[in-house]
Amino acid sequence: MNIDLKELTQLAPIFRELFKGYHVSRRDPELYAQLSNQQDQYRALFKALGYELVCDSRGFYYFVPELMGAQVNKTAQRLALFTFILVEHLADQGRDPLAVLDGGSLGRDELPALLEKYRDLFLQAEVTSVEELEEKVMRRLNQLGFASEENGIYRFLAPMHRFLDVCLSVQQDRDLAATLHSALPLPTPVLLGDELEDDIISLAEDEPDLDEEDALARAMADERAVQEIDA
């Protein structure tokens, strides 16, 4: 495929944004128009550079980070948690969660009540105050192109579908549903501090007589992974 760089007039800003983890949607008309008009060229160019450009038909573009470096970070967990909470909160109020999260809006003044109602859950994501909610969740949503803020109104954009998809996949996850509905006691929750030992101990439990070198290599790789997560 021949790529004509002259045609890719928005290459620099597009790459800069995508590289930062930003989702390009119709909120950025110029970048979006260019990406949708030259979709194949951009995809080929980024692929050659080692980046996978995802073109979601629901109207947004983003880079898939390389799997090696892509730890599910706290931000992703936090934003997913926020989405779950918001869906439930809206449904409780008799509002339509999809209408809000798919192009709808949420007032900034609704955040305190939301935080109060779900304080225990937000605590798990280290969000304890409205300021932290704005800083760690709303600002991140904005930075990553999931939402935009104007005059105290947060408008949710098409990339929010990525989190709605999480809701759908959770719903389809029968194991999760089964654990929740089973009468048997749940497995003891793994405490955050126990991660290190338990990870290593569980490593080779299914293969007790591992080849020694192999085992060492795996242990070291896992140790590195644990360090990366901690970092």
Binding site: F19, K20, G21, H23, P65, A70, V72, T75, Q77, A80, L81, T83, F84, V87, E88, A91, G94, R95, D96, P97, L98, A99, G104, L121, Q124, A125, R140, Q143, L144, F163, L164, D165, V166, C167, L168, S169, V170, Q171, Q172, D173, L176, T179, L180, P189, V190, G193, D194, L196, E197, I200, I201, A204, P208, E212, A215, L216, A219, M220, E223, R224
Partner: protein, 412 residues
């Protein structure tokens, strides 16, 4: 007996007043006061006497009828209401059962036709054929009516307020699907009552045509052919209506289902997080994205400096040891094997603290290696272990916080 011309004239004359009233009557009956209020709003210049005269006229012509046991409440005469609904293309969805009942009736008529032919009763045969034809027309009319009603159902769902919950917004769609479309799918399916019924009637008519040629005509062939064509038209219309119903309602139904799935998924995820913490949500399903503040290649000059350094890169010459030269200092120690470590550990039993023991054994050991031995030894079947309190340990390079184990000989 009311003169039809007078009714039709009244309907034509008062259409502008009747049409908005129809909408009100679609959703229930109206009291005399409500009716008067409605008409006064539409005819601001009229006097109460005019309104009374108008209402009187409608009641006399049987356009308005009093509701049973509530003489002060009125409704539109059901026949007139249906006629007006037809004119306004406002149709109420019928029942799938009605179509099924018609089908049964068609089958019965086919039986009578067969009987009439067998006894060579030409008059009865013609009468039954006409009845069959009329019944087929009824089904066609009903299917057309239902299709209009389905369009209206979909439109109402699409245009209603986006802020009301989807469950309410699509309640009618979901009910229509369950009560009409789903049974219709079964009815019109290849082995359903509709196809079977049509097949039986068609079979009787075709056999009749053949027999007429053999035994001589009882009725005109054209009548048979026309009825047969209408039956086929009915079959096609039913399939088209069903297809249209699916096209109209399926996307809306899917949207409602998706909405339910999203809400249920969110509730499930929250329940799991409440019980098992933030990591309970399957990580595989979480979206991955680069961190927003990841290190980005900086300014042009930084890139330039980097490229410059790359261009001038010179590898350091590799120094390989010569085979002849004697090694200075201590020879590097061979790595310990698992067997060796296990034996040493076994000999040292009981160990009050495995990690401390390891650190004493390998004071210079790398942290990852020590942690590997820690995990390898602590889970070996030869030992029985007991967890200790969490504390910090200092390796040569790191400070490690973990809960160590006391190791005892495992009971044989």
């Amino acid at each position: 007996m009311i003169d039809p011309k007078r009714v039709l004239r009244a309907l034509a004359e008062h259409w502008t007043l009747l049409e908005p009233l129809c909408e009100r009557f679609d959703s229930g009956t109206l009291s005399l006061i409500e009716l008067r209020k409605q008409l006064t709003a539409q005819l601001p210049e009229s006097t109460p006497v005019d309104i009374t005269a108008l209402l009187d006229q409608w009641i006399r012509l049987d356009i308005l009828v009093p509701v049973a046991k509530s003489p002060n409440r009125f409704e539109l005469n059901a026949q007139i209401h249906d006629f007006l609904a037809y004119l306004r293309r406002e149709h109420r969805l019928g029942l799938c059962l009605e179509i099924e009942a018609y089908l049964r009736h068609l089958e019965r008529l086919a039986g009578y036709i067969k009987d009439a032919f067998e006894v060579r009763d030409a008059a009865d045969l013609a009468r039954q054929l006409r009845l069959l034809d009329m019944r087929v027309r009824d089904v066609l009319k009903k299917l057309a009516n239902d299709e209009q009603a389905l369009v209206a159902v979909a439109e109402r769902a699409k245009t209603s307020d986006r802020q009301i919950p989807l469950r309410q917004r699509y309640a009618e769609v979901l009910a229509t699907w369950d009560e009409y479309v789903e049974p219709m799918i079964q009815l019109v399916a290849a082995d359903g009552a509709f196809e079977q019924g049509v097949y039986r009637v068609e079979h009787v008519l075709l056999r009749l045509l053949g027999e007429q040629q053999r035994l001589g005509q009882l009725v005109d062939d054209d009548l048979l052919l026309r009825t047969h064509a209408r039956i086929l038209e009915m079959q096609t219309t039913a399939q088209l209506t069903l297809r249209r119903a699916r096209e109209l309602l399926l996307p809306l139904r899917e949207e409602a289902r998706r909405h339910n799935a999203v809400t249920r998924g969110a509730a499930l995820a929250l329940a799991a997080i409440r019980r098992k913490g933030l990591d309970a949500v399957p990580q595989a399903s979480l979206p991955l994205f680069s961190r927003p503040q990841s290190t980005f290649l900086g300014t042009a000059s930084q890139v330039e400096a980097y490229v410059y350094a790359l261009a001038r890169f010179e590898p350091k010459p590799a120094q390989f040891p010569k085979a002849s030269t004697a090694r200075k200092g201590e020879a590097p120690r061979a790595p310990r094997t698992a067997r060796e470590m296990l034996e040493r550990c076994e000999q040292a039993l009981p160990l009050p603290d495995l990690m401390s023991w390891l650190l004493a054994q390998e004071p210079e050991g790398a942290t990852d290696e020590l942690l590997y031995w820690f995990s390898r030894l602590s889970r070996d079947a030869r030992f029985q272990r007991e967890r200790l309190e969490r504390r910090d340990y200092l390796t040569a390079e790191h400070q490690v916080s973990l809960s160590s184990f006391t190791l005892l000989r495992a009971a044989p």
